[in-house]
């Protein structure tokens, strides 16, 4: 018996498909939260004071 072929991790043009699948598992509101959290992290790393 052959094992089922695993889903590819990257597309041929180098896009990380695991990130896309993870984002698609979230609701639109959760995706927006991910983006907002990322922005806060980036700005904090850049030393800018975040408004909370």
């Amino acid at each position: 018996m052959q094992a089922a072929a695993a889903e590819p991790t990257y597309s041929e043009d180098g896009v990380d498909l695991t990130l896309i699948r993870w984002m698609l598992s979230l609701t639109p509101a959760e995706r927006l939260d991910v983006l907002q959290q990322h922005l806060r992290s980036v700005l904090r790393l850049r030393g800018e004071k975040a408004n909370s």
Partner: protein, 164 residues
Amino acid sequence: MKKPTPDFRAILRILREHRVDFIIVGGVCAVLQGAPINTFDLDIVHSRKPTNLDRLIKALEALNARYRTSGHEKLKPRASHLASSGHQLLMTLSGPLDLLGTIGHGHSYEDLAGEAKELDIGEGLRAQVLDLTALVRIKAETAQEKDKAQLAVLRRTLEEKSRS
């Protein structure tokens, strides 16, 4: 104006409270539909009907919007600016906001409305968002070298969505 941390929901809430007709496009639109990309500004295409421009101006006053282009930081957007097909790059109390009269090869709010859908974006807010298929098609119309990597992510997101 001190540089604020972008808070997209805060901007969208003010626009909705002022009953502004608009469609979210660009990076936030892509993220809401599952694309793992980053963006620091909110791009919207607004209706340029006079009644909507009146509401938009009031919303921008509530957001204390100013141009963010160098040398124009104290300039407030006027209805005549917003009536144009051009792009108004603003800074607000809740971060950067780009008001786009048209996108791609001249697509206006009215042109895009049939390809927009309303999404629940959390905290009791709903907003019109350009369908990802249309976003990819329009972005490809005017894509420059810097846009190609993001376009690849958007196209792969569309493929994965079609499989799920």
